[in-house]
Subunit: 546 residues, 2 copies
């Protein structure tokens, strides 16, 4: 623990210095920054304490609600940050951290981020962003073309058009999904006759005008939780987010979708949007987008694709077919901070039609005047940073074929890991990788046999015990700090839809090697042996299963 | 224009390098970063082209929608960025850039930003943020205490409580305002009897259950445009954002508020929230918060204060009284990227009651499990960066008294500028500074006399011509590139509420000197002389005014 006894001078002159005099080359902050710039992985390995400290302990360092009355020296405070914050942060870029969607970042993005922050542009309006505005419009155009493959004339006409917008940059997939459904809702309840549109008159009057009893957004049972949030925020209500049955591979069943839509309609509920998932968060599967698109066309629904995570697959000529049908979507969410290898905070929503966002357009007197090209007139957020520059740079430096290599190796690494798991006598692959995400669990061999024999309550009970085991292994592995896989709860068809806790891995980090994957399985097997009582109970119960 | 002929190798090995080998000390990118780190202002002065290039011209550099098929070298691309993006960006931190709310940034934030980005934490959950989670909770606690001044026991009890939240960090004031009004809406239409609450059943059923014909959010005519967006998104409808009359100082009239609420109620419209503005975007005035709070209490309305810009004034013991009544608010928006001198992307919403956000709580299986301390269970956004670390560092290094000095000098500089303007025979102060924002315009002396005499249409016509003049001066000054003031359109009481275009300045940059302010007025006077025809027309018309 650092006890800060020295306090810095607080005078206006000393304050002016922090705005005008940079940290000297020998300052602690400069040195820390230099060491991180020279070798990020080594820096993080040295400074992040591997073994987990309980959260309650960490909280002690962050317990005062008083804003300091005395100023700290930059060097002292930097030391303090190193000891209390960096040391107990998470090494999200470690090749052994395969539990979530964060990966290693390309080195060039770090100095570029600093330049972006130093420029401190605000993309809400041209007056505070100038070249960043056409740059962001171009980046959106590039992503639009990646999805929709329109011709040059299309982009020449619309990409920089003041009253049109091919999409919006935002902080992440959640805002992107909300934006897409906001547009879908407003277009579904647009002005008609004396009704001025939901954006003006609100949902209650819109429902009465159109004579609907309810609104619905349909998505597979595996849809991301942000959609529930979207349904709440937009006034649809969480019950208006209607889950549609999935098949054994976690993909939405088109037939069930069609039936659900028809049944909603007979109850006078308007299904205004269907969300197809291109890369479910928990299992990485892709919905049958072409079939969903046709159903949406037939029923006049907005078709949104949540490709926050999987959208980057379009960069791969080898695998983009996995997302076929995405070009039929009315809107698509893609996060650049997932498989496009950008730092946190780079979400996007793209719209097929350049005038789709008209229904959420807004203006103000001092900015966003009508006819201006200010990006803020078509975004949910207001002030925003110049994050688009990082994606612009990454697309130029990595290039489309470079992204393709990254995507391909991720997918193929997941295929390798899946086959490695199935080769083990004591591991079970729960969901096959379609992209670079899979789930599995540890099941001692003897238990597997019992599980195959078991029925009804016995099977359920075995599963419950296995859930405890999986949870134990996952937590212990995380706490030990060598590697990290995440866990989630599925209801697989081949387990009678029992709640099944599974390990979940995302293999997007190009530095994750096959050796690391082998070691992770070994470690999990070792950890299992640390709970002999639980294993004994499992064995004993399994022996009773006839 | 840079023509990139060299292309980099695209192989998996070369790609691995960008994730493992940092830019060398002699690389263009390292050198650019170093020169920016050594003297940001000089770097920007040297690299940003002062004179404005027309947007149409700039767009030519950003006209292709094709993601490059060949990879660029980092050094080449950095040069390209310098020539096409940096050169035509906006020098928002220049002391002569006083048109918007961006200011110079403390130097220490730039290396810290790079560290924050390199750590790439995701604050949605503890598994990807660990110490950053208690850190963010502490930062929210500090801001909460700055506003609400609860005792230590309060913060000890609630700051780190898993099922409570003192607020949320977000990308900016717009998301903060939407979050506050989302909470207000859900609390106003909460579960009751068989009705499960608006978050579950949606707005239509909520309205029918409660028997309302409409919902209303009340705010002064000077409220920020983001509130209109919020009303739209939340399903209230823009017409549900009811503007309340302001006095001659742009402050909401409490009497008018009370009357409007009563009148809405008689029409069975539920006024569920009132927004007080603490620092209007266009004139910098603060609504009478105490009186608004009492009216809200009487009518059982959620009282939100939009202090996105002005909230930082609470750091000043000398001036915090200007915001008195803010401690009575149910929720408050503050942007750290405005007067807390952080880079873009640091908004916050604070809630008086630790359980206010319960009504927007959500969970998922793989994260945000019930009882977890994951921050994502109480935010509109999902994945988020560790921006809170920058505010944490700034509050320690600048300290509360340091922020006070910054705030005080801004306010006093605005007072100086106001008196400088009133001393000029040919300038008119339109709105007095209450904080560090004021508006004014250039009116030749002879025209002032005529304006005082003029009535009705003559006055309106004179004002129209003056609007043209103001607009011309503002545009030309921006294009010349020495300095930047913004413009907006007001309807001042002493001009019979005519549309009046004014210059708008925000004096938060500590490097803006009195000499700079003097020079800005001189430059505006000079620019006016560049349009003799317009001045002649003004003189001729003024001479006719009896």
């Amino acid at each position: 623990m650092v006890t800060e006894t020295k306090t810095a001078d607080v005078s206006f002159d000393s304050l002016l210095k922090i705005f005008t005099v940079p940290e000297g080359p020998d300052s602690t902050l400069t040195q820390i920054e230099a060491s991180l710039s020279q070798n990020l992985n080594q820096f993080l390995r040295e400074h992040i304490v591997a073994e987990e400290k309980p959260l309650r302990e960490i909280e002690k360092d962050f317990s005062s609600a008083v804003i300091p009355e005395t100023a700290s020296f930059v060097s002292d405070h930097t030391e303090h940050l190193l000891n209390t914050v960096v040391s107990h942060s998470v090494h999200t870029s470690a090749p052994t951290f395969i539990g979530h969607m964060t990966s290693a970042l390309p080195y060039f993005l770090m100095p570029l981020s600093k330049i972006m922050i130093a420029l401190n542009q605000n993309l809400v309006k041209i007056e505070t962003s100038k070249a960043f505005t056409p740059l962001e419009r171009q980046v959106l155009g590039m992503l639009h073309r990646l999805i929709y493959r329109q011709d040059d004339a299309f982009y020449q006409r619309w990409m920089h058009s003041a009253n049109h917008s091919l999409g919006a940059f935002c902080s992440g997939g959640t805002i992107a999904n909300i934006t897409a459904l906001w547009v879908a809702r407003n277009n579904a309840l647009r002005a008609q006759g004396s009704f001025k549109g939901v954006e003006k008159e609100g949902l209650f009057k819109a429902m009465k005008h159109y004579g609907y009893e309810g609104l619905a957004i349909l998505v597979s049972e595996r849809g991301h939780y942000s959609l529930k949030k979207a349904a709440d925020v937009l006034g649809i209500g969480q019950e208006g987010l209607v889950p549609v049955k999935t098949d054994a591979n976690n993909r939405l069943c088109p037939k069930a979708l069609d039936e659900t839509i028809r049944s909603l309609k007979t109850r006078c509920i308007k299904p205004f949007a269907v969300v197809g998932v291109a890369g479910t968060t928990e299992t990485g599967n892709v919905d049958p987008l072409v079939e969903i698109a046709h159903i949406c066309q037939e029923h006049d629904c907005h078709f949104h694709v949540d490709a926050a995570w999987g959208g980057a697959t379009l960069m791969s000529n080898r695998y983009r077919h996995l997302l076929s049908g995405i070009e039929l979507a009315d809107s698509v969410t893609i996060d650049a901070h997932k498989q496009l290898y950008l730092p946190m905070g780079a979400g996007m929503v793209l719209f097929k039609e350049p005038d789709a966002m008209k229904c959420i357009e807004h203006h103000a007197q001092y900015i966003l005047r009508k006819g201006s090209k200010d990006l803020g007139s078509h975004t949910l957020e207001g002030s925003r940073s110049g994050m688009a520059m990082l994606l612009y740079a990454a697309m130029h430096i990595i290039s489309r074929p470079g992204y393709e290599l990254l995507i391909n190796q991720s997918i193929e690494k997941a295929q390798y890991f899946a086959s490695l798991i199935t080769q083990q006598p004591d591991f079970e692959l729960i969901s096959e990788p379609e992209l670079c995400l899979l789930t599995y669990r540890y099941v001692p061999k003897s238990i597997q046999a019992a599980l195959a024999r078991a029925q009804g309550e016995q099977k359920a009970h075995l599963n419950e015990m296995l859930n405890d085991l999986t949870q134990f292994i996952q937590k212990r592995q995380r706490e030990t700090g060598r590697s990290f896989v995440s866990r989630t709860r599925l209801n697989p068809a081949n387990y009678d839809h029992h709640h099944t806790i599974v390990f979940r891995v995302v293999l997007a980090n190009p530095l994750t090697s096959e050796e690391i994957l082998q070691a992770i399985l070994l470690e999990q097997r070792e950890i299992a042996k640390q709970v002999p009582t639980l294993l004994d109970r499992l064995e004993t119960f399994a022996a009773q299963v006839k």
